[in-house]
């Protein structure tokens, strides 16, 4: 089975994010990290590929930078990576991203595309579904448990009130929630091996995509800071802070 895992290099979430005031694009440093939520997708792909007859390919779209984030995911055990890095893609929206990822998945002959439910930096939360539609495959979304079932997959899909058991044949797309599996930590051997694993860097013309066709009909008219919440009273606990909490709960009329 050919498994493609969508991964994303993002600015370190511990640092404040910024938009370029001119272009309104997110400022991306050279040194980006692997989106933490992607580790779940990589892990489930590695587990599904454990039959020995499968390939796990990381697929990604972002300025390549120093590729640190991609190497983090390769160090977990993925076989190779394909990253699409093209100035024409700066500021790309979710659907453009989906077109690029779908084109890479096709190029790789993926039987299964795996993704997290949403990225940490942009969190539009719809790219995987768009990719599934573009590929014409079912989307097994919000999986909290995944297993092979015959020639396809069976998942437990998180719902608002519980979960559904859902099955689909391949090719298919899968999105996984945090907690679906415990992602492995890269071993020293894995980190060393990642340094020499193949990373293909492509432009959109390599994929046969046309930048003009990816233009969208929306204009940003304003970017502004959200109104901030006023900070309130801070007390040090000296053994009686719980009484202050009780008073606030009374004031809020919940007790």
């Amino acid at each position: 089975m050919n498994i493609a895992v969508c991964v994303k290099q993002i600015p370190d979430p511990a640092t404040p994010y910024q938009l370029d005031p001119e272009t309104h694009w997110i400022v991306r440093p050279e040194d980006q990290v692997l989106d933490d939520t992607d580790r779940y997708g990589v892990e489930i792909a590695l587990q599904l590929a454990a039959d020995g007859d499968s390939t796990v390919t990381l697929i990604s779209m972002s300025p390549a930078g120093n590729l640190q984030g991609i190497r983090q995911a390769l160090a977990m055990g993925a076989d190779k990576a394909v990253i699409v890095s093209d100035d024409a893609l700066r500021g790309a929206d979710a659907l453009t991203t989906a077109h690029v990822l779908a084109a890479v998945a096709r190029r790789e002959g993926a039987d299964l595309v795996v993704a997290g439910t949403e990225s940490t930096d942009g969190y539009s939360g719809v790219v995987p579904q768009q990719v599934a539609e573009l590929l014409g495959v079912p989307a097994l979304t919000y999986a909290r448990n995944v297993e092979r079932s015959g020639d396809g997959l069976r998942i437990e899909q998180q719902t608002a009130t519980g979960y559904d058991v859902v099955e689909a044949g391949l090719p298919a797309l899968l999105t996984v929630t945090a907690g679906v599996v415990e992602p492995r930590y890269p071993t020293f051997k894995g980190i060393m091996a990642a340094k020499t694993k193949p990373i293909d860097q492509l432009t959109i013309s390599d994929l046969g995509l046309d930048a003009a066709a990816l233009e969208r009909g929306q204009d940003i008219v304003e970017v502004r800071p959200a109104p901030e919440r006023q900070a309130g009273e801070i007390v040090e606990d000296e053994g009686d802070a719980h009484l202050r909490i009780v008073a606030v709960l009374e004031q809020a009329k919940v007790i």
Binding site: A139, T159, G169, I234, I255
Partner: protein
């Protein structure tokens, strides 16, 4: 004036809460308001949808298949026939699946994390939250239809309109392999107490609780206050509690009267899901924790000292 459409998923409890929130907002955007209702019990649902302002209902009945692919194709056909100005979705599981597929099918962008919308001669203006809700972006979409996914609780649902909508049933088109995922079983998980999204009081725990066992304090306090227990991504990822308890960017958005954050530092990813709560109380050892920036009452202290005393004090009152 072109139509204002709201996609609404139904469950055994009727139309989704977020669907009714969006329908309420739709009333202020135009006169021709349609609900695209995916679910069963359409007669009862239509009454509720009409009471929230829908003048017509397009009803889609889900079958054994996961409905998103078929619903997106059905919606695309309806849009081609009726040319609405906007289709509104909620940031919920099924809505996101349908909206994403529809966007790709139509080749039109989708705006996520919207919190407000207005329509004027320039087009559909949408305000989106980015960067954990710290920054707002306003976009205008000049051509039909704008596809927009809204964060829950951006608007308050209000019924009382009393419209009797027309109901038109729409068959889900056959989309072949894309629609072939089958639902084999459905499981409702018995929840004690109110739902996280609807609770008036939420007590959430983070890494500062120390370990999974200490999360019992969070549940106990939530129970005493008639509220629900929530969690940060950090402890969901650590396997202490299930994903369904997660509050934040990748979890649920909540807006209770009172939110008590216990051992939560207040990462951006968490704040986006709870910063609009009525009163925020935070207990954390680290006086520099960002959660104190949004707290009405911040207690700098050890949760495992403060919470047992708080629980005891509340028990003594009851």
């Amino acid at each position: 004036m072109a139509g204002i459409w709201v996609f609404i998923e139904g469950s055994q409890d009727g139309p989704s809460t977020i669907g009714l929130e969006l329908l309420t907002k739709a009333r202020g955007l135009g006169d021709d308001i349609a609900a695209v209702y995916l679910g069963s019990g359409e007669a009862d649902a239509a009454t509720i949808l009409g009471d929230h302002g829908a003048s017509r209902v397009f009803h889609m009945a889900p079958g054994e298949q996961l409905p998103a692919a078929g619903a997106a194709a059905g919606l695309a056909d309806l849009i081609a026939a009726h040319d609405p100005a906007i289709v509104m979705f909620g940031m919920s599981y099924t809505d996101r699946d349908v909206a994403g597929r529809l966007s790709a099918r139509l080749g039109r962008s989708l705006l996520s994390n919207a919190i407000d919308v207005s329509i004027d001669d320039d087009g559909v203006h949408v305000i989106n939250e980015i960067f954990g809700g710290t920054t707002l972006v306003e976009t205008v979409t000049a051509t039909h239809p704008a596809l927009v996914v809204f964060r829950p609780k951006s608007f308050t649902a209000e019924g009382g309109v009393g419209t009797t909508p027309s109901v038109e049933t729409v068959a889900l088109p056959d989309v072949g392999h894309a629609g072939a995922a089958r639902v084999i079983e459905r499981h409702e998980e018995a929840a004690t107490g109110p739902k996280l999204e609807e609770a008036a009081v939420i007590v959430s725990g983070g890494r500062g609780m120390g370990n999974a066992d200490n999360f019992a304090l969070v549940e106990e306090l939530a129970g005493l206050l008639g509220g629900a227990a929530g969690a940060t991504r950090a402890i969901v990822d650590s396997g202490w509690v299930p994903y369904s308890l997660q509050v934040g960017q990748t979890g649920k958005t909540v807006k209770p009267d009172v939110y008590i954050a216990c051992g939560i530092s207040g990462a951006m990813q968490h704040l986006v899901g709870m910063k609009d709560s009525g009163t925020i109380i935070a207990i954390n050892k680290d006086a520099e924790a960002p959660i104190f920036g949004v707290a009405d009452l911040g207690v700098v202290g050890d949760v495992n000292q403060v919470m047992p005393k708080l629980i005891e004090a509340l028990r003594a009152r009851s």
